[in-house]
């Protein structure tokens, strides 16, 4: 198996997961907030975040390729910032992976936050805990299974991300050739033995991810019922 591709895939998946945790948790908290103000905007943002789930990866890849081309606004901004281009670089596939995996993180996060009993948060406030302390000591522990589910699903899905990575990243060893792309490359090279090894690793990653998610799902979710 291609060790370089495995390491690259791992780096891409873990960086994406961390970034989506940083972006997704606050966003999901806002999306799950119960009060009525900004409901229309919320609906729109939620739809946009879910879009990658239903969009064909080639469509997303095409838009990303056009949007990040050196002549585009984003491309010029990025070139001014870093002096390099986005397509066919690690940053490029990272951006693609973050955007494509928004639904896999935001979905479970939002569901977990929405299922949280609001009374627990308010009780914490009434007991004099600050907002930060409430989030750290009440919200995150109670929603932990949902959050981990989102993170694990994101990680596993990035590992399997193919169409967008191939389109935005090309197939460059060590830079954008992830395991899924390496598998495609092996099949093109008629190297079935290597393809089988890579595919086995990908199946194993998916299986481990599902086992983790199932373990967490078996734990009672914080629904705040039955007091």
């Amino acid at each position: 198996m291609d060790v370089t591709a495995a390491w690259l895939t791992f780096r891409l998946a873990s960086t994406t997961t961390l970034l989506l945790a940083a972006i997704g948790l606050p966003l999901a908290w806002w999306l799950a907030a119960p009060h009525g103000r900004g409901a229309g905007l919320r609906g729109l943002i939620e739809a946009v975040c879910t879009l990658p789930l239903v969009l064909p990866p080639t469509v997303a890849g095409f838009f990303l390729l056009v949007a990040t081309a050196p002549q585009s606004v984003v491309g010029r901004f990025w070139a001014g910032l870093t002096g390099s281009t986005l397509p066919f670089t690690f940053s490029g596939i990272l951006l693609a992976a973050v955007l494509m995996n928004l639904p896999y993180a935001i979905g479970p996060f939002t569901a977990a936050f929405a299922a949280l009993d609001r009374k627990l948060v308010e009780a914490s406030w009434c007991l004099g805990e600050s907002r930060a302390a409430t989030i750290l000591r009440v919200v995150l522990p109670a929603c932990w299974p949902g959050i981990v589910t989102g993170l694990v699903m994101t990680f596993a899905h990035v590992v399997g991300e193919f169409g967008v990575v191939l389109m935005v990243g090309g197939n460059i060893p060590g830079i954008t050739r992830t395991l899924s792309v390496a598998l495609y490359d092996d099949v093109q090279a008629l190297d079935h033995a290597s393809a089988a090894r890579t595919a086995t690793v990908l199946v194993a990653v998916a299986l481990v991810a599902l086992v983790i998610v199932q373990r967490l799902a078996r734990q009672p979710l914080a629904k705040g019922t039955g007091r």
């Binding site: 390491w7 791992f10 780096r11 873990s14 960086t15 997961t17 961390l18 390729l65 081309a69 050196p70 491309g75 281009t85 986005l86 397509p87 066919f88 690690f90 009440v138 522990p141 109670a142 932990w144 299974p145 981990v148 993170l151 990680f155 090309g170 197939n171 460059i172 060893p173 060590g174 050739r177 490359d185 099949v187 093109q188 090279a189 008629l190 190297d191 983790i212 373990r215 967490l216 734990q219 009672p220 979710l221 914080a222 007091r227």
Partner: protein, 283 residues
């Protein structure tokens, strides 16, 4: 019961050490990974990598070329990425970094120069490829005897070719079908691969019964042990003129030029000739 059993749901952290340790490891390794230098400084021991964006029909022979090249230049190594020539050109124009572009159609190399990504003087012709009709060993079709008629055999349901829109061998295959007067009869049976390599994979896997493929792939180690072929006459299609160009932003121009020179040298050509390439005198 007055006492609640426990606020168990607030302690999944302590309950599942497997998940927690997995996450901790993931975070640590990510941080470590983020700290890895993307490009370590070149030492005399580490070979200089020449990045090559190459047409898919060169997959097999580029390995052989690399091995022979490294005998003379052990400090250089090739880092190839493969694709249909037209697809690679589009990617190069949208910012794909490479040192050397090897196309199955020299027109694309000129196109790269026209886009300002290579000097016109750095465009070179590297030989002419040939087209074959390929079947698997277990196929009942006697392709050597039947030639182009093999495509009309009753057992043929699919004919694999590369996409003529951006793959030079796909265009040559369509031209050859036209020349043989078979294009209209076989139009419905064509299975279009993204590149010549994908067309080869279609027929090698058995998904298509026959493939019209680059001879360079048919002579490669994988296909040569799994099937047989008939060489399509050269007059059946316009010449498949392979060409390449050194990228204007090549990192190590000296190394790239060394490989280009090797490719065009008698030693390089003798390897290309083993894969069916021909070198007619350029008029």
């Amino acid at each position: 019961m007055l006492r609640r059993p426990s606020n168990h749901r607030f302690r999944p952290l302590r309950r599942d050490p497997v998940v927690i340790s997995a996450l901790i490891v993931a975070v640590c390794v990510t941080i470590l990974g983020g700290c890895t230098k993307p490009a370590p400084p070149r030492t005399p021991q580490a070979p200089t990598k020449i990045r090559v964006a190459a047409a898919t029909d060169l997959r097999s022979c580029l390995d052989a070329l690399t091995d022979a090249f490294q005998v003379e230049h052990p400090s250089f190594d090739l880092l190839p990425t493969f694709g249909a020539s037209g697809v690679l050109l589009t990617q190069l124009k949208s910012g794909l970094e490479t040192d050397l572009y090897l196309s199955a159609d020299i027109a694309y190399a000129h196109d790269l120069a026209a886009a300002g990504l290579a000097a016109e003087a750095d465009v070179f012709e590297s030989g002419q490829g040939r087209l074959v009709i390929w079947v698997r060993n277990e196929s009942p079709i006697d392709v050597a005897k039947l030639g182009g008629e093999a495509l009309l055999d009753m057992s043929v349901r699919r004919v694999a070719i590369a996409n003529p829109v951006h793959a030079p061998y796909g265009r040559a295959a369509v031209a050859a079908l036209d020349h043989l007067g078979l294009h209209d009869r076989l139009k419905e049976k064509l299975a279009i691969g993204e590149s010549a390599a994908q067309a080869a994979q279609y027929v090698e896997s058995g998904a298509a019964e026959v493939g019209i493929l680059p001879m360079a792939l048919a002579k490669g180690i994988r296909l040569s042990e799994r099937g047989r072929f008939w060489v399509v006459p050269a007059e059946a299609h316009p010449p498949i003129r392979h060409g390449g160009a050194i990228h204007a932003r090549a990192i190590d121009r000296e190394a790239t030029v060394a490989f280009r020179d090797f490719l065009l040298s008698p030693a390089g050509r003798s390897i290309l000739a083993r894969y069916g390439f021909e070198f007619p005198a350029v008029p």
